[in-house]
Symmetry: C2
Subunit: 442 residues, 2 copies
């Protein structure tokens, strides 16, 4: 049955309101698996008249589709019986070599035997969590952090503790203090999860100096680092940053992906891990899906082998740079006073902060009514934080749509500020479930 929210608007009912005969039988880890009201809103937000600044979808239309078409046809003709067959749990050996070539651009020297190909880097996150996390174990993560990682950590009943970050990324002192305090209280810290470069959602990058400090702190404290780096090659200024993994092979599990540099539709990501961990990852991979698609792995391999992929990444960089510029100049020109935002040097996202008294989740239904969508900040925190924040993506909409989206959003925020100034602040909406769109509406 439709219901009214705080603002008197009718929103779609939460799916799953039918009676669940199995409710008493699920595993403890499944208790938190519920979709939030926000999800229903995003379905509305997928309509074409809505400008979605919510999505993390790369702009795959920029790819040379004719070339990709020829390439997959050629793959079937030349290697059909392999491409259509089961593959190894670890992933295609030749693709793993090629992945080492890609990683070399970010300072990593690796052996392809330490690479595991996964169903997107999301699966690498899932498998790492599966082999390390017992219920109650602690994962350290930037606050805010990638919603998909937080969801996975929560699915394995990890306790996520956020480490402070600022415009230069993780604050090393906060990291050291957090580790010390957690250890003193008897907690088991299993790893630090970090996106050091063009972070999702904050759009900030860990500075070179701090990289060394973070590495030292974790090495001294014997804390494994999980470095998630989907956007590292999509920097707008100069050469790719040196990764954490480049300077520590034994203490870092590195996650990479072709979803942003080629296409997410192949679902090809990878983990590079210290040898013992890599072995467990392969067995976990086999238990999870037997093996990844040989077809999509070989398609990516053939693309890398035959196409000017470095040039394609450069083209993506220019495309996203223009959109980033459009978003920043639109925000500058249109946003009411008191709204602030980050200035990403690469990647897909701007992280905006609303003036005091405003709640981004409460704002979302109004924004969608005005035909603009964003992701409220609460989804990116495991501890209920983020109410005044929102993630704005510039990766998918074309520049004039970005400008129009920011204009609409600025209007909604301005209106909300006038309401606040007249009536004071209302109570923020309750949090329940996953506050971000499903992958296809992302």
């Amino acid at each position: 049955m439709p219901q009214d929210n705080d603002h008197g608007q009718t929103i779609a009912p939460i799916q799953g309101s039918r009676i669940d005969a199995y409710v008493d039988r699920y595993a403890a880890r499944a208790t938190g698996m519920v979709a939030s009201e926000v999800r229903a809103l995003f379905s509305v937000a997928s309509r074409p008249e809505v400008v979605s600044l919510a999505g993390g979808m790369p702009y795959v239309t920029a790819l040379p589709l004719d070339v990709v078409g020829e390439l997959v046809a050629d793959l079937v003709a030349r290697r059909g019986p392999v491409a259509l067959q089961y593959g190894s749990g670890q992933g295609d050996p030749h693709l793993r070599e090629q992945i080492c070539d890609v990683m070399r651009m970010e300072g990593i020297e690796a052996n392809s035997d330490d690479v595991v190909v996964t169903v997107g880097s999301q699966q690498a996150l899932d498998l790492i969590t599966r082999i390390f996390i017992d219920p109650g174990d602690v994962v350290l993560a930037e606050g805010p952090s990638y919603v998909g990682a937080l969801g996975t950590f929560s699915a394995y009943q990890a306790r996520v503790i956020h480490v402070a970050m600022d415009s230069e990324g993780i604050v090393p002192e906060s990291l050291a203090q957090t580790i010390y305090a957690l250890r003193s209280a008897g907690n088991r810290i299993k790893f630090l999860y970090t996106i050091p470069t063009f972070q999702n959602p904050a759009g900030v990058t860990l500075s070179a100096a701090r990289r060394q400090q973070v590495l030292e702190i974790c090495q001294r404290a014997d804390v494994l680092i999980v470095e998630d780096n989907p956007y590292g090659m999509l920097g707008f200024d100069g050469e790719p940053m040196r990764t954490l993994r480049a300077d520590n092979a034994d203490g870092v599990v590195y996650l990479g992906s072709f979803s942003k540099t080629l296409a997410p539709g192949f679902r090809v990501g990878w983990a590079l891990a210290p040898h013992a961990i890599r072995e467990k990852l392969v067995l976990a991979m086999e238990s999870a899906v037997l093996s990844h698609s040989s077809f999509t792995q070989l398609a990516v391999g053939q693309y890398l082998a035959t196409q000017p992929w470095r040039e394609q990444i450069k083209a993506f960089r220019e495309l996203y740079r223009e959109r980033r510029d459009t978003m920043l100049s639109s925000l500058e020109a249109l946003m009411p006073d008191g709204v602030t935002w980050t200035r990403p040097g690469g990647g897909f996202f701007v992280w905006a902060t609303l003036p005091e008294g405003l709640d981004s989740k409460a704002l979302l239904p109004r924004a969608v009514a005005e035909r603009v969508a964003f992701v409220p900040g609460t989804g990116f925190f495991a501890d209920g934080g983020g109410a005044r924040h929102m993630r704005l993506s510039y990766c998918y909409p074309e520049p004039d749509r970005i400008r129009e989206g920011v204009r609409r959003l600025a209007g909604v925020i301005g209106q909300e500020l006038r309401v606040r100034d007249t009536f004071g602040t209302g109570s923020p909406a309750e949090r329940a479930g996953i506050d971000t769109p499903a992958p296809d509406l992302a």
Copy 2:
């Protein structure tokens, strides 16, 4: 370092003997994640001179590769931006409709909204286990059962209890008694996992009469059934059997796959689940991999929409029937007295039983030395059973190779029988880790 086994043969060292700095930090569920010695043997068994009766690989070379090549090229040309993009966690809506058409052939009337597309049906198993199993929960399964399912159950720390089966499948009385005994002892039974048709590894099929009994027992006892049906369309006699799901929509989660009827390289399987369970499956899916490959889903969809897929399945059936016949006649002609085996009416596997005093795992190194491989029976039991059994696959090798493989195997068994008769029986090898080949050597 190479080591000698009971028979004085040198076998490859277990991978992972390097010191593991993380050994104290893994989750409890990861303790059992070790590869067995048998795995190293299978690497040897993948050499072309070895006839592998170990594999579960479908014979994809029988597919019209030119047609598949055109189809994927056409897919990129017409729907590239969708095929290369993220998809929904639940799977492509049109493919889910087509999956309902496929299931209708086995008596299932379903709504596509209750279907979740997964990375092979292996992932469906993983997700079902993820949402239902707390450590110590009981899963009922045929003994023997599919090794990939047992591995997944074990990865979530389920306790697998085997239910007796004979040439007509699960023995209903054993099922009822097992449920009663487990419940009386205070165990939580989460579901019955069954492969009713052309079972892996036993090759037997649950009779029509027993299907009703199994459904009734589970309904009365309120035990969910997970019906895994990858081989159902590959029967050699008459129409497909009516599935369990066809007669109970609320108490059965049905798992299907295109790996055997089309090609495993796309990794497209599915779960059809009661609505509430389906919702949790979608959220678990997103947490595990965000979404399946749009590319491979649309490729399968386009294949189903444009190709005579029923005719192709018929062609596969004829192909596998010939191989089954070859295997059965070879076994009949060549095996020493005392060896027995099942006579599958479809699917990929024959389950053989050795005479008393012989151990299939101890036999494997000798068999590989004689250039034939099989999977020892212990991998298909969670309780250490199966030492006298072996799974023999006829799906992948061509008929003359099957005959030659059985000839070699019969020779090894005959020799072993003479050793037994001369010196008595030795102690069987210790069990440790996963006793089956990795997916690419399967």
